[in-house]
């Protein structure tokens, strides 16, 4: 296993049509923990995650991993807010990343069945993935992202439109993954979820990192006035 961390962002930004979506961001993240990204709508949470993962083009500045960038990309995965289901069976969705990584058909199948069982999809292996319910889709997307055992997993509001039960199941999977050593960077709207999962918090405001602190300090200490207002549920601009 290679080591991605620490990762350093220097003046990194994403622009679209002349408008800066996020940045310039200066940030250093260490190898341990669960980073929760919070902030009001339009603060640039999604753009920050996409930029770090490399699916949004860097408009300026730099991102430096502790290993070569191609290697870093190979050890990351991303779970989108709207889970992207390939038009295949549950099993087909799970074997795809393994087959890309060069595993044999039989090995990939065994591993996929195991992964599906772990997230509670073991009895719907042959169901077409686009026909799953919202919660099942997100669990499948999560299992598919974790199946290659990435060192770092990005999650963009994975529970945004899910009911309580699906949210709890997803949080359980995430807690297990974190305990097994997967580094999580996740954005969320749900402050309860942020409190439950976070070991550190990134508070974004207007495309910039307003605060970067350990979860304890952020939630129970004395964060900035804007962060306090945001936690209270006020509208922050």
């Amino acid at each position: 296993m290679s080591n991605l961390f620490p990762v350093t962002l220097e003046g990194a930004s994403v622009r679209r049509a002349g408008k800066t979506l996020v940045g310039p961001v200066d940030l250093e993240l260490q190898a341990k923990g669960v980073t929760i990204v919070i902030g009001p709508n339009g603060a640039g949470k999604t753009s920050l995650l996409r930029m770090m993962h490399g699916i949004a083009r860097l408009g300026g500045g730099s991102i430096r991993w502790a290993c070569p960038p191609e290697e870093a990309r190979a050890h990351q995965a991303f779970v989108f807010q709207q889970p992207i289901m390939m038009r295949r069976s549950v099993l087909g969705n799970l074997t795809y990343p393994l087959r890309l990584a060069g595993q044999s058909r039989a090995d990939a199948r065994d591993r996929a069945i195991q992964a599906a069982t772990e997230v509670g999809l073991g009895d719907m292996l042959d169901r077409p993935a686009p026909y799953l319910s919202g919660g099942e889709r997100q669990k499948l997307a999560l299992a598919r992202a974790l199946i290659t055992r990435p060192e770092l997993l990005f999650l963009d509001e994975p529970c945004a439109s899910l009911d309580g039960r699906a949210t709890r199941e997803i949080e359980e999977i995430l807690t297990r993954a974190a305990a097994a050593g997967t580094r999580l960077i996740m954005s969320t709207h749900d402050m309860g979820q942020a409190r439950r999962l976070a070991s550190e918090v990134l508070f974004l405001l207007n495309g910039n990192i307003h605060e970067h602190s350990p979860a304890k300090v952020f939630f129970d200490g004395t964060p900035s006035a804007q962060a306090q207002a945001f936690l209270k549920g006020d509208i922050v601009e």
């Binding site: 993962h53 699916i55 995965a77 991303f78 992207i84 390939m86 038009r87 795809y96 990343p97 077409p128």
Partner: protein, 244 residues
């Protein structure tokens, strides 16, 4: 009175066409079987070759952003309306004794007909395939980029997961090729027992005034087109239960 008579004649003509077709089929008329099989051979071969070219091309146009992309798509769409007779003429010139490929001696052979049909249906299949796969690609874009796929792997994923839509594209190509007469008449020459197919036979019989036989052949052609379409759909759906 006169109009009614003509109308009656037409009905009679169609009726005798149906009976003619019926007898041709029931007696498995040797000539009919031969030209039907040749029709199928020429068109299915052209379809396989054209699909092998056009489907990956459609996928590549969806996945890849290159400078001439818009231009290529516009040209493909324009070529969908390519007049078959003109294609036939160009292939004829290319394959004729004095043409660049004259030494191959392909003119007035089924191979020449296949070449002409491939040229006619490649733009059609590629264009429809591109339309269908463009949508699929906008779904898959973020995921496949996130997974670090190569261009080839992206094309493969689109071709496999979009296979139902691609079947429709290929069937459209089949429809155009099986009913085509202009190009294969020019390059094939409608030679009996050699390059005669259903459409050229119909043109010939119509020209000779043998309307019943022409109609009979026409019904066989329609029945065959429907049968091939149904067969392909059945194969496509039994392969997996779900539909998408």
């Amino acid at each position: 009175m006169l109009v009614q008579c003509a109308f009656g004649d037409d009905i009679l003509e169609i009726w005798s066409g149906i009976t003619e077709a019926f007898w041709l089929l029931v007696t498995l008329d040797a000539d009919l079987v031969e030209i039907t099989l040749r029709s199928l051979y020429v068109t299915l071969t052209a379809l396989v070759i054209a699909s092998a070219i056009a489907l990956p091309l459609g996928a590549l146009l969806a996945v890849r952003r290159f400078r001439a992309r818009r231009m290529t798509i516009a040209v493909l769409n324009a070529l969908m309306g390519l007049p078959p007779v003109v294609v036939g003429l160009i292939v004829y010139v290319m394959l004729s004794r004095s043409g660049p490929f004259g030494v191959l001696g392909l003119l007035f052979t089924p191979t020449a007909m296949i070449i002409a049909q491939v040229i006619i249906i490649v733009p059609l299949i590629a264009s429809i395939a591109h339309q269908a796969l463009r949508e699929l690609w906008s779904d898959y874009h973020d995921l496949l980029i996130s997974m670090n796929t190569t261009q080839t792997q992206r094309v493969q994923a689109l071709l496999w997961d979009g296979r139902r839509a691609l079947l429709t594209a290929s069937l459209a190509g089949f429809g155009r090729a099986i009913g085509e007469v202009g190009a294969i008449m020019v390059v094939g020459g409608n030679i009996d027992h050699h390059t005669r197919v259903l459409t050229t036979a119909i043109a010939l019989e119509t020209g000779k005034g043998e309307f019943a036989l022409a109609l009979g052949l026409g019904f066989v052609l329609i029945a065959m087109a429907i049968a091939v379409n149904l067969a392909i759909h059945v194969i496509g759906q039994t392969e997996r239960g779900g539909r998408w």
